[in-house]
């Protein structure tokens, strides 16, 4: 095999759009999204799988993109914060909830929280309090103290439950 550690093409679908870019095997999916595809809304906070800022949806499931190599996402369907707004361009319900509850300050960790909560509510629209906390406790926020994030999550859950 020629240069097995070298770059190869990675083809995947991000936010409904097929994207192709080169990646050597060691390129983290977080860096691939941010620096190869220019999708800088996904943030990087620790690169060892604790802070959750880099959370994206990979085939519908929330994953830490700093713990996935881009080559592992070949053929996958990804959703990032850039794909959360509605088709009409309006903010989605989870995004709106964070705005209305003042669930964000510096906004750096926010995309990860939005994705984690989206993943939960798409699977369990009527998620319990315990499930909300479980879904969000894998994301660190240093500004808000979480109270308003939890308030936003409850509001988004109530809306999702109503729609479901």
């Amino acid at each position: 095999m020629a240069d097995p550690g070298g770059e190869r093409e990675v083809r995947l679908v991000v936010n409904g759009v097929e994207r192709v870019a080169a990646a050597e095997p060691r390129l983290l999916l977080s860096d691939f999204l941010r620096h190869r595809l220019g999708l800088t809304g996904t943030h990087v906070g620790c690169e060892h799988g604790v802070c959750g800022a880099c959370t994206v949806l990979l085939d519908g499931e929330p994953v830490r993109s700093c713990l996935v190599f881009a080559v592992q996402a070949e053929g996958a369907e990804l959703r990032t914060v850039e794909g959360l707004a509605g088709e009409d361009g309006e903010l989605g319900p989870v995004q709106r909830a964070f705005h209305e509850a003042h669930g964000m300050q510096c906004g750096f960790c926010t995309p990860g929280f939005l994705i984690s909560l989206t993943a939960l509510l798409e699977e369990r629209p009527g998620a319990s309090e315990e499930e909300l906390v479980d879904a969000l406790s894998g994301n660190l926020c240093r500004c808000t103290g979480y109270a308003n994030i939890l308030a936003a999550a409850r509001a988004a859950r109530d809306q999702a439950a109503e729609r479901a």
Binding site: G41, H43, H48, V50, C51, A85, G107, S137, N148
Partner: protein, 778 residues
């Protein structure tokens, strides 16, 4: 309708929610190179040969820069503020302050783990890290000292070899007859309390990018900094360039809490490399670098004694404190002097003796972290008051109430000189009312109803004062565009505090326009010629009043021009919703933008000599600081067999003067409290005896999560400050000041029957079990 006191939804949010924020690492600079640092693996070592041949041979590596190169080009770094001691401070406390300059990259010795030693510039961060692994540096390890008290002991290894010992700062103060008060006291308590070392750790780490403008050779720098203008001025001096040929921008910044206030070696080295290589260069700190090499906070030990009469009236306080500054005394008196001026807080105490010694050690530098010396002071005094209450068999809240400064005593002179050299005077506030209101909503009974023999409930208090709105100044420029849009340019940058909204509210209020029509630009050294930045709970006070003044000046200007346009006197005009109207003449109106349009040079009818734009600038220089205050009450549960502490409820009664945006204020308070809870229960930076960092990742440095969030109850008492036109006080740090003391008090209260004394945190399950076992007699 006034927009002050209204929770206007944040203007900042939409971009951030869409993933369209622009943080330093999001910037795409054409052809940018990336940097990785070789950092010291030793706490203290002599640097020998550095062999970069293998690293340089790696394809994609552009340069390796070490101390030999930077020593020839860059003076060692030293900050003016570290050396400034106002005359009045000198007279009152006779401080001895020693500062040794910090080399951007050292040539002789490294003095803490994580100190940058060499930088690799490469085509990608991946390659740069590969090259760092190939750098061969000879280190000869030297004895290290980690603990401040040991560093001050005779014979300790010396951090700075040119000094005869490790003492960076010492000062002392006495007011009243302390010895006599102690001699006369009915009750004396004395204990040692430690505020352990913590890490601010915003979720965005540091980052710097720099490039040289090919058009004019000027230097563009983007930095995740709290102080873009200060960084510009610093770079101008250290790089020997005109400040006007340097532009520093702080784009979106992901939290700071003090850690992005200092100028770091990396802030200097990235622009240096960009100039040297003639290419854009970018460095994004990773979390391991951040935990090792960004500034840390706290790390003080207080030996505090309180003397009281039989009724619990405090007669005197004596406190001897030792602080660990880390490897460099970066900012001089800032933190230790804050501790001193905030120690007595809201209490009316006759005699006061204080002494502080600050040691350098072989650990990462310590600098302001949200609260900046105040949480340390509050932990010492509030813990001591809890001991006093226990000694007296009295309710700790009653003892506090007995000693508070009353509203009738305002303004209250403490007899202390503040760090800016002015007399420390509490300008306003009602501390007893704050305590009374807080006590009303503790709801202890609700939790005690669910208590069991093993799961104990405890309540703890902490009261603090906070000097806010320190100078020297902030700049604001307000301009009305011909479209009617209002642009506010300020030196204050934002790291998540919501200034774009709050400052827009102030401008909208002063001008009579809608908040939506105001755009606030901060964080760009090119926006206003001089500025200071966001730190020390100052922006609303200093930048807020600057914006308000500038907007009022523009308003006056607009009315004067409009008066001529409308054929009325300016005093007959009013502005509402961006429209100027003549009172009593409903037909005579003019959009504000039309006035700006009238002044443009394109208008042939504009009066000769009139200004060409509708704009005004204000440089607001505050006087002495204005004093916020708060009462924190923690309700905790302690599980005896496992030692697990759960914070169930946290009450904050708070006074930060006039509130502009209540939702933003509440957000700041809760965020600060949660950082305090993190420090109280989980977070601690640990070094081993050799100075190796033991908490170099987020598994070992344990930040709180949503799972640890208590219920909150916030109470506001808004006593306007008489010291500034808006009547506002700062409040960014207050939330973080009280929790360690309040939670320690609550844990002690829960374990009162065992006689547990909490001397330090964090109160993780293992430490709490140790306390329980020790108190139970093994």
């Amino acid at each position: 309708m006034s927009t002050i006191g209204v929770s206007v939804p944040r203007i900042e949010d939409e971009r951030l929610l869409r993933g369209e924020g622009r943080f330093v690492d999001d910037l795409r600079l054409a052809g940018a190179l990336e940097v990785a640092f070789l950092r010291s693996p030793h706490a203290h070592a002599r640097i020998g040969a550095i062999d970069a041949a293998a690293a340089l041979a790696l394809p994609g590596v552009v340069a390796v820069i070490d101390g030999r190169e930077t020593a020839a080009a860059l003076e060692p770094m030293v900050f003016d503020i570290a050396k400034i001691v106002p005359e009045a401070v000198r007279e009152a406390t006779a401080p001895a302050v020693r500062v040794h300059p910090m080399p951007a990259l050292p040539t002789e010795r490294v003095t803490y783990v994580g100190q940058p030693v060499a930088m690799v510039v490469a085509e990608s961060r991946y390659l740069a890290e590969d090259a760092v692994d190939l750098l061969a540096v000879e280190f000869e390890p030297l004895p290290a000292v980690v603990d401040a008290e040991r560093a001050l002991a005779p014979g300790a290894p010396r951090v700075e070899t040119e000094w005869e010992d490790n003492e960076a700062i010492s000062f002392a103060f006495e007011r009243g007859d302390v010895d006599a008060a102690f001699a006369a006291a009915k009750v004396v308590v004395e204990e040692s309390f430690r505020s352990h070392r913590q890490h601010p750790s915003p979720i965005e780490t540091r980052g710097v990018a720099a490039g040289v403008d090919p058009q004019d050779g000027s230097l563009d720098v983007w930095s995740a900094t709290q102080t873009p203008h200060l960084l510009r001025d610093f770079l101008a001096r250290w790089l020997g360039r005109d400040p006007e040929r340097i532009r520093v921008r702080a784009p979106d910044v992901g939290g700071a809490f003090g850690i992005k206030h200092s100028c770091y070696p990396e802030d200097l080295l990235i622009p240096f490399a960009a100039l040297r290589l003639g290419r854009a260069v970018k460095w994004t700190e990773d979390r391991a670098e951040h935990l090792a090499a960004a500034t840390q906070g706290r790390d003080q030990v207080h030996r505090i004694a309180v003397a009281a009469d039989a009724a619990g009236r405090i007669l005197a306080v004596r406190d001897h404190a030792v602080m660990n500054a880390g490897a460099f005394n970066l900012l001089g008196l800032v933190v230790p002097y804050n501790t001193f001026t905030h120690l007595l807080g809201p209490y009316d105490v006759g005699a006061f003796g204080f002494a502080m010694r600050v040691a350098v050690t072989n650990t990462a530098p310590v600098a302001p972290y949200r609260g900046a010396g105040r949480p340390e002071a509050v932990f010492a005094i509030e813990r001591a008051i809890d001991r006093l209450a226990r000694e007296l068999g009295a309710d700790p809240a009653d003892v506090r109430a007995r000693n508070l400064i009353g509203p009738e005593q305002m303004p209250y002179e403490t007899g202390i000189v503040y760090r800016d050299g002015t007399d420390q005077v509490y300008d306003s506030g009602d501390y007893p009312e704050l305590l009374r209101r807080a006590r009303e909503v503790v709801e202890r009974e609700r939790f005690e109803a669910a208590a069991t023999e093993r799961r104990r409930i405890g309540v703890g208090y902490a009261i603090y004062t906070e000097g806010t709105g320190v100078g020297p100044f902030e700049t604001a420029r307000v301009r009305i565009e011909p479209t009617g849009r209002v642009k506010v340019l300020t030196g204050a940058s934002s790291q998540g505090q919501g200034h774009r909204t709050t400052l827009a509210q102030l401008a909208a209020e002063a001008l009579g326009v809608a908040v939506a029509d105001v755009e606030v630009v901060g964080g760009d050294s090119a926006a206003v010629p001089s500025g200071f930045g966001t730190l020390a709970s100052r922006t609303l006070v200093v930048a807020g009043n600057a914006v308000s003044e500038a907007a009022a000046a523009v308003r006056a200007q607009a009315l004067e021009v409009a008066a001529g346009m409308l054929g009325a006197a300016s005093y007959e005009l009013e502005i509402e919703g961006g429209t100027i109207a003549v009172r009593g003449r409903p037909d005579a109106t003019l959009p504000l933008g039309a006035v700006a349009d009238f002044l443009t040079p394109f208008n042939p009818a504009r009066p000769r000599g009139a200004p060409s734009e509708l704009a005004a600038e204000s440089v607001y220089r505050p006087g002495p600081v204005t004093w916020s205050a708060g009462v924190h009450v923690a309700v905790v549960a302690v599980d005896l067999p496992t030692g697990v502490v759960e914070v169930l409820r946290f009450v904050v009664a708070h006074d930060c003067g006039r509130v502009v945006n209540p939702a933003i204020v509440d957000g700041q308070i809760v965020g600060g409290v949660m950082q305090g809870i993190g420090g109280a229960l989980h977070e601690e930076v640990l070094y081993d005896e050799d100075g190796q960092l033991r908490t170099g990742n987020f598994m070992d440095y344990v930040l709180p999560t949503a799972g640890e969030t208590p219920e909150f109850e916030l109470i506001h008492l808004d006593t306007p400050s008489p010291l500034n036109p808006l009547g506002v006080k700062g409040m960014g740090e207050g939330g973080a000041i009280g929790p360690p003391a309040a939670i320690a008090g609550a844990v002690e209260d829960a374990l009162a029957d065992l006689g547990v004394v909490v001397h330090r945190g964090p109160l993780g399950p293992s430490r709490v079990r140790d306390l329980i076992v020790a108190a139970a007699g093994g």
